[in-house]
């Protein structure tokens, strides 16, 4: 009868476990949620994110306490406003806040998923909203920081079918300063109740108008240095 050769498997596992032990606090084994967001990673990089954006928030009372909500924020080109609005709101509300718009290829898509990004897909957004998540989406990008771009009505449709509120969030940041602002408005409501797809189209239009009004009320960037404020206007 042949002899069974035993590989030193247990010793190997024990040695490897001891070697990797110092790294384990950096890689907490249970920090990723069901949508792939890694809360530990988000907390680790938040201090670095604050070096770029120091966000002040207003109007938190407009956010639902437990239910999901679709937040629509204006987006100047390369401002990454959905990202900093989501992170700032996550810290302020102590809830995971997700944002729409990750590419689906490694490594950028994978990295963005770890910090809370969802695919730019109405079904994906609908799934998240149905599960009581707060999701931030950007309008179409513009070149001017105080112009609200067009709102994608298909993503708004996800909120309508999920039965959650749509909330405009005016955001303001500059390329030359850390100061950023996110002002949460009241949820958008239709005067006439719609049963069909007109609901999302009209809500998207009203949300864009609300956003524009809020941006007008916020005023321009005020750093105290006129040339910088002028540059900040885009």
């Amino acid at each position: 009868m042949a002899d069974l050769i035993q590989l030193p498997r247990r010793a190997a596992v024990g040695t490897i476990s001891a070697v990797t032990a110092p790294l384990r606090p950096l890689l907490p084994p249970n920090s990723v949620d069901e949508w792939g967001r890694d809360d530990h990673l988000v907390r680790l990089i938040q201090p670095f994110a604050r070096l770029r954006w120091d966000v002040s928030i207003g109007g938190l009372q407009h956010l639902p306490a437990r239910k999901g909500a679709l937040l629509i924020t204006n987006e100047r080109r390369l401002s990454f406003s959905p990202l900093y609005v989501a992170w700032a709101l996550s810290k302020a509300t102590d809830r995971p806040v997700r944002f729409v718009g990750r590419p689906d290829h490694a490594p950028f898509g994978a990295a963005l998923r770890r910090v809370g990004a969802l695919l730019d897909n109405p079904t994906e957004v609908h799934g998240a909203l149905r599960h009581g998540e707060i999701v931030v989406m950007g309008t179409a990008t513009t070149n001017h920081p105080r112009y609200a771009g067009v709102v994608d009505h298909e993503l708004v449709g996800a909120a309508v079918t999920a039965g959650v509120s749509v909330v405009p969030v005016a955001s303001m940041s500059t390329l030359l300063s850390r100061a950023a602002r996110a002002e949460i408005g009241a949820p958008v409501r239709l005067r006439t109740k719609r049963r069909g797809p007109l609901a999302e189209i009209e809500i998207a239009e009203i949300a864009q108008r609300h956003l524009q009004k809020m941006l007008d009320e916020l005023g321009g960037v005020q750093t105290g240095m006129a040339p910088i404020d002028w540059l900040g206007e885009g």
Binding site: R9, R10, A12, V13, I16, S17, V19, T20, A21, L23, R24, L27, P28, P29, N30, S31, V32, D33, E34, W35, G36, D104, H105, A106, P107, A110, R113, L118, L119, N121, T123, E124, G127, H131
Partner: protein
């Protein structure tokens, strides 16, 4: 939900770990009258009431004879071979196709049949570019692996049979099943001393414990499930996190070296089939919230707990030799 006692249940694939678990749970159900099982291997547990037939999946005539003679009210079809679990990919595909044809074909000849419950998997959603992070049951199947295509075919055949004879068909779409004796290529890979993972993606995935999967099948049979349902453990874990939980050495890989790693891993006894590679590259999550509504049960063990149990198993249970009697 059925409240009629004395129901006849047939479990295909009763010899496997999941099939044996389902059969042992069904034996304790008051509504189950008689229980019959067919598989190529004998059951892994002691069953008190079940009648077992050892038949090869390719022996269609015998399967049809046994199934039609038993004339079940409910057929639970668990005869599914996951690639590289108990057989290589080509054999697994052949065995699964044979068993699907034989059992579901035979079910069509049973006049008392009321319900078919089939084993499926969340692999059938596929992981193409821009596929949803957490697909629910309403998402159209778009498999991207051999195993995904296998389970999609089982669902398609079951639906066509059910439509022809007018019975309910339910599909229990399981996340990768892990348990102490369940042959799983993912579990086997994660238990290696050194485990590869994709450093560029390291996506999250979910699993399900074997007991929870078995409870889901029993509930599906009791409730006469008539639609697909995802059965996944709550929570998620990434490949690197699972490796760290088990105290294994993570081996970061970027891309081209995966081909070599797969071959080496195969040599060390842990082949990496296509659908497991997909888990490590693209992740595998699903929305399991409808399980409580459709089945009345939901998995109790979270994904991190199932992974911890995976690493807590003993590798080899040593049985000491009895001293030889000297004359």
């Amino acid at each position: 939900m059925t409240d009629v006692r004395g129901q006849r249940l047939l479990v295909s694939g009763m010899g496997g770990e999941l099939g044996s678990l389902v059969a042992s749970l069904l034996e304790d159900e008051p509504w189950v009258g008689s229980l019959c099982g067919i598989d190529v291997d004998p059951p892994r547990r002691r069953l008190r009431r079940a009648e077992f037939h050892r038949i090869e999946p390719s022996d269609r005539e015998r399967i049809v004879d046994v199934v039609t003679a038993f004339d079940p009210h409910v057929l639970i079809h668990l005869a599914v071979w996951e690639p590289d679990a108990r057989a290589g990919t080509a054999q697994a595909r052949q065995f699964t196709a044979d068993a699907t044809t034989a059992f579901l074909g035979a079910a069509g000849e049973c006049p008392s049949l009321e319900s078919i419950v089939v084993r499926s998997g969340i692999e059938l959603y596929g992981r193409n570019r821009h596929s949803l992070t957490r697909p629910d049951e309403s998402v159209h199947p778009d498999p991207t692996s051999v195993y995904g295509h296998m389970v999609e075919r089982i669902e398609t055949v079951a639906q066509s049979v059910a439509a022809r004879i007018g019975v309910a068909v339910g599909a229990v779409r399981l996340a990768p099943v892990l348990g102490p004796h369940v042959p799983s290529p993912l579990g086997r890979l994660l238990r290696q001393p050194m485990v590869p993972f994709s450093i560029m993606a390291d996506p999250p995935f979910t699993v399900v414990r074997d007991d929870d999967a078995a409870c889901a099948f029993v509930a599906a049979a009791r409730r006469r499930l008539a639609e697909p349902v995802n059965v996944v453990a709550p929570g998620a874990v990434t490949g690197l996190q699972a490796i760290v939980r088990g105290g294994r050495l993570p081996v970061p890989l970027v891309g081209p070296e995966w081909a070599i790693t797969r071959r080496m891993s195969h040599l060390f006894g842990a082949p990496i089939p296509e659908h497991v590679l997909e888990v490590l590259h693209r992740g595998r999550l699903a929305d399991g919230d409808r399980a409580i509504e459709l089945l009345g049960v939901t998995p109790t063990a979270s994904t991190p707990e199932v992974i911890d149990r995976l690493f807590a198993w003993e590798s080899v249970v040593r049985v000491t030799k009895a001293p030889r009697a000297v004359a």
